[in-house]
Amino acid sequence: MSTPRFVVVGPPNKGKSSIVATLARDDSVSISRTPGTTAVYHEYPMTVNGEIQYVLFDTPGFQRARPVLTWLKASNANPSERPNVIRRFVEEHEAEGKYLDECELLSPMLEPCAILYVVDGSVPYGPEYEAEMEILKWTGRPRMALINPIGPSNHIQEWKTALGQFFNLTRVFDALSADFQRQTELLAGLGELDQDWKPKLQSAIGHLTIERNSRLDRASRMIADMLTEMLTYQIKKDFDTDPIPKSSVEKEHKAFEKHLHGLEKRCRLRIEELYDHHRLQRVEDQLPALQESSLLSEESWRVFGLSRKALASLGATSGALVGGALDMAVGGSAFLFGTLIGASAGAISTLLGSRKLVKVKILNFPFGKKKFLLGPIQKKSQFPYVVFNRARVHHHLVANRAHALRGDLDLTLIKKDHCPELPGKQLRALDALFKKHHKEASPELRNDLGTLIREILQE
């Protein structure tokens, strides 16, 4: 079975490269408003485990269609000889500069292929296109016309009528807004050009769908990991001073927030890379500031690195040892009262003396330290929901973004369809999982959150 090959041709600046970028899911394809950006043809083979499923060719636009057609017509060739005349044209002119673009765009057509002729449906049809379409007829290859509306005006019907005279199949395909479903629909439609190619194209669509689902799985896990990390994050720090200066507490708060921002940014970057958007520039708002009431905050003393409780136990043990020695000295006649009294006295004196002990310094090093604990995020906080909705919007925009789009990804203009309200059942499940994270963050819990997020993202 031969490999399907599709040569994307058309006038300059009508979105040929955009269509290739979207179908090949390659954001590195050079797309510019300047005509002549594509000077030579480029191959985009779609492979599954190294096996080619189909090949797309991005080509330069026609520059001198009428002179080329004049040359072809001068041969007086009958229809069966016309493909050979095209070959002769390429062979005779590829060395000279004048018809460089035509030779580049016709070269891939010398091998078995189908032609995708791209026009802009937002501008009027003109007679200058006829020479190009006539040349394509001379190749004898199966052809499909793609109307790619670049601007806001609508001349699609006019184009359909004109293209219908030169092409068997005509489709409207907006390369900048085509989501995954539209892309696969077009791929399936290309199978109409040659029946032998249908199985390969169907297989390619199957693989792309599996990959799409796998990406959704992975994106859900990435978001779940981010949320788990945020919900369980804590800052623990020791301070020598009592009370801890307000500026230091504020600094820790900022560090806490910075860490959360970093987690969100990392997650966004990973999702963009997952969907093959490697050059995306984001316009985004910062995460909202965390209110003090949203964070658990604790301060406690430590002496020799021990908490007050541990210190009291240590004092009690020491006292008990001394008391026990006294008990032994009197041959047990004290009925272990020495041990009991020693333990109590040790514990009480340690507790009372610990506050003084923490201030004692030897060689300018204090005995005690004040332990500061910030986080995790409180159960009642709305913060996880805010983060989750931001992640949903980002995922929606990235997963459905065509690779031909070159502008910034604007995350500040949120539309309702980017983040529809969750049904009560899912909201309750999400709430329960968020709350469970305050007790423990087991791998199972993380998986459950990932599964729920996948369900939500898929919808």
Partner: protein, 294 residues
Amino acid sequence: MFFIGITLGFLGLFLSTDLAFAWSTTIEVNDSWLHRATRLLTLPFASIIPSAAPSLELIESTRYFRLDDGGYIEKITAEKAGLWWPFVLCMLSFYGVLPRLVCCVLAHYCLKHHLGSSFKTLPGASDVLARMRSPIIESITRDQQETVPDSDESKTPATPGFDPQSAKAFLSWNKAHLASADFRDPEKTPVTSIGAPHTVEEDKTALDAFTTQHAKVSPLILTKSWEPPTGEFLDLVSELRKRLPSHCPIFILPIATDNDQAYLIDIAIWKRSLRKLADPYLTVIQQSKEKDRL
């Protein structure tokens, strides 16, 4: 210690290898005791394989197997000795092979389970597994592409204040004049049509006639603003320059349709593309109603 070791080793070896010493003669283990012991040992499988449990009679009759013929004890026949084999086989299978087999299966299962669960719990393990399970799909080119930067618009020459209606000679490229009501009326604006749908030969004839008629007049070429200039249009301008005095200005007016306005970006493309001709007397002029596309 060394000699204790030697003694214990000797006894162990002797008892386990010389049956006659251990059972028949020297230690003299009682037959009924041995029968009880074998019954106990064969308990797990005796009900399924009764022949695997040796009877007291068999134990008694096979106790002295080294005595010569003619003694007071009946000689052990090969047939009788052979009755021990189910016992030996079942003992080997039940106490030797079966526990090892069970251990092996159990260990294999436990190892697999623990390895699996420990790997799955590692951060990012699910991602690695998903990637390993999914086919590798690629569709990007290996060709090196040069990114063409858009030119700096500030270098575009300033457009002089030229009123298109004041022009005396009009050329219309690819029927551009039909797009705008300002130029559609041949009475008001007589245009010479070149480009499509005419042939290349017809263009030459039309151009000859035009330059003969307007030998020293600056021509104004009407083009469609939304179609970028092609190589063919640049060829036309070069041809026109050859037929006109070298200092004669040529004006190009990219026009919009009646219902639309020319976009600034399209005008910029026209200016940028025509700079390739390096003709100082070639000027792209603008209609007054351009708008920004984005």
